[in-house]
């Protein structure tokens, strides 16, 4: 009876977004009399950072400070349509929609500023700190707040913009099965090291090393947060979680957190992450998105590591101690493979 260490690797090629009848998201941007901007969405931020990243994208496109942008989202009564926060599509689809809306709003803002400064809008630029000035003549400037006030109270203009980003449905070629379901792909590679106890069948995580390529990381801290948390969820799917019971009868399914297992703080392991940035041609500022891909490579890497440790091929999730023990028994004992 012994504990065996093993290492496994997995790589993922992950499509951003989905392809069910077309994949659109919309955004609206408008200025308030205070010179601040509101982005209206109905996309959901459940902690992954949708509000932060759309706020950054809007501010950058408008050319105003990020503090001057407020994102109002998650209510489909007041926000324009969004397909939803899933399929790693948020940053890419919603981000592009926000960018389009902010571009249109910026156009109106520059026209309104041009009228106030009595110059051509094409000769104006933003300084990113809340001012619009004549190119090459920074002293000839007006604050975005004064432009917003002038637009609304003098010129009778709404500084606003509409944006939609649509990846149209890709039909499947009935002859070849060919299609283009996504416009860009993110990538990941992860090495997992595990320790398998051949007496109990328990699998303990020892460490993970990974590289994720997700286009431009618009908010590196949020990306890291996604990757760290997502990998944990991958461990959870690989080794713990299942809505399916251990027996065929659904009545035996888990009903609560005592029966539906998830790793606790003692079950995680050190994880070293490298983020590689290869901007996507059609991403907002080159972003693709971390999303679901954070979790995906962990599952096959863990299964491969278990094979490396004890020589059993686990092809059903989650890989519970019971399944590992049965497999080890069926092959007549642990058969550690060559260390990789």
């Amino acid at each position: 009876m012994a504990k065996h260490r093993g290492r496994g690797i997995a790589s993922v090629n992950y499509p951003i977004g989905m392809n069910l009848g077309g994949d659109p998201s919309q955004a609206l941007v408008h200025s308030n009399p205070s010179g601040k901007f509101t982005v209206s969405l109905s996309s959901i931020d459940l902690g992954q950072g949708m509000k932060s990243v759309t706020r950054q994208i809007c501010a950058e496109t408008l050319g105003v400070p990020v503090e001057d942008v407020y994102v109002d989202t998650a209510d489909s009564d007041t926000g324009p349509h969004c397909m939803g926060s899933f399929a790693s599509r948020g940053t890419h689809r919603v981000g592009n929609a926000v960018m389009a809306a902010a571009k249109e709003a910026r156009g109106v803002m520059m026209e309104a500023a041009a009228e106030e400064l009595e110059v051509n809008a094409a000769d104006l630029d933003t300084d990113g700190r809340g001012n619009i000035h004549v190119k090459g003549a920074p002293h000839r400037s007006i604050s975005t707040k004064d432009v917003a006030i002038a637009a609304q109270f003098k010129q009778g203009k709404t500084i606003s913009g509409r944006g939609i980003f649509l990846v149209p449905l890709s039909e499947v070629n009935p002859e070849t099965g060919e299609m283009s379901p996504a416009t860009c792909y993110a990538h990941a590679c992860l090495v997992a090291e595990v320790e398998v106890d051949d007496e109990t069948g328990e699998v303990a995580m020892v460490r993970m090393d990974s590289a994720y390529e997700l286009g431009r990381a618009l908010n590196p801290r949020l990306v890291e947060q996604q990757l760290v948390g997502g990998a944990w969820m991958g461990i959870s799917h690989a080794l713990f979680e299942t809505p399916e019971p251990y027996y065929p009868d659904p009545a035996h399914g888990p009903r609560d957190f005592v029966e539906y297992l998830m790793p606790g703080p003692g079950d995680i392991c050190p994880h070293d992450i490298a983020v590689l940035e290869r901007p996507a041609a059609d991403g907002p500022f080159g972003a693709k998105g971390p999303g679901e891909m954070c979790a995906n490579p962990v599952l096959p890497a863990v299964a491969n590591a278990i094979f490396n440790a004890v020589g059993v091929r686990m092809d059903e999730l989650p890989i519970t101690p019971e399944k590992v023990l049965r497999a080890i028994k069926a092959q007549g004992g642990a058969r550690p493979q060559a260390r990789r």
Binding site: M233, D256, P265, I268
Partner: protein, 159 residues
């Protein structure tokens, strides 16, 4: 149903209310006092989202009969900050990105406070142990553990 009168200190303030027999502390706090910081996660002791301190000790409010806190002091996340100033643990949670959806955060903060109150210089293993009754679905725990350790360090630096 008969109601039981109940008095206790809630984040340093005296409260008096009537509770139905069998009502748990989580319901009393949220529905009768209006303190929404303890969260309902499971109602059966499995997740830690409802964690509060009773006389300085960590308890699951969903498993605590409201009547049992009569005359005692209950602390919730709502009492953690000092006026406009966030508690060092709250600041550390922000700096370490230790919350995503935030549902576990109130319970994590109370579990962490209970730890630092009795052990201002915990090891990593002691932090893990202290929050092991709290489930987090989002962060992978790592940033939470780092935040508690960072808050402990900043507390020692001030002391």
């Amino acid at each position: 149903m008969t109601k039981t009168p109940l008095q206790f200190r809630h984040n340093g303030r005296d409260v008096a209310l009537f509770v139905d027999g069998g009502v748990n502390l989580l319901v009393a706090l949220r529905e009768l006092i209006g303190d929404m910081t303890p969260k309902f996660g499971c109602g059966q002791g499995g997740c830690g989202a409802c964690s509060v301190l009773i006389d300085g000790e960590l308890h699951l409010s969903c498993l605590t009969l409201a009547e049992t806190v009569n005359g005692r002091a209950v602390e919730t996340l709502d009492g953690l900050k000092d006026g406009p100033n966030l508690h060092p643990l709250q600041r550390a949670f922000m700096e370490q990105f230790a919350a995503q959806c935030g549902y576990c955060t109130p319970g994590m903060l109370m579990a962490a406070k209970a730890l630092l109150d009795r052990n201002p210089s915990p090891t990593r293993a002691e932090v893990v142990e202290a929050i092991s009754g709290n489930i987090c679905r989002c962060t992978g725990y790592e940033p939470i553990i780092n935040a508690v350790l960072a808050a402990a360090t900043s507390g020692r630096a001030r002391a």
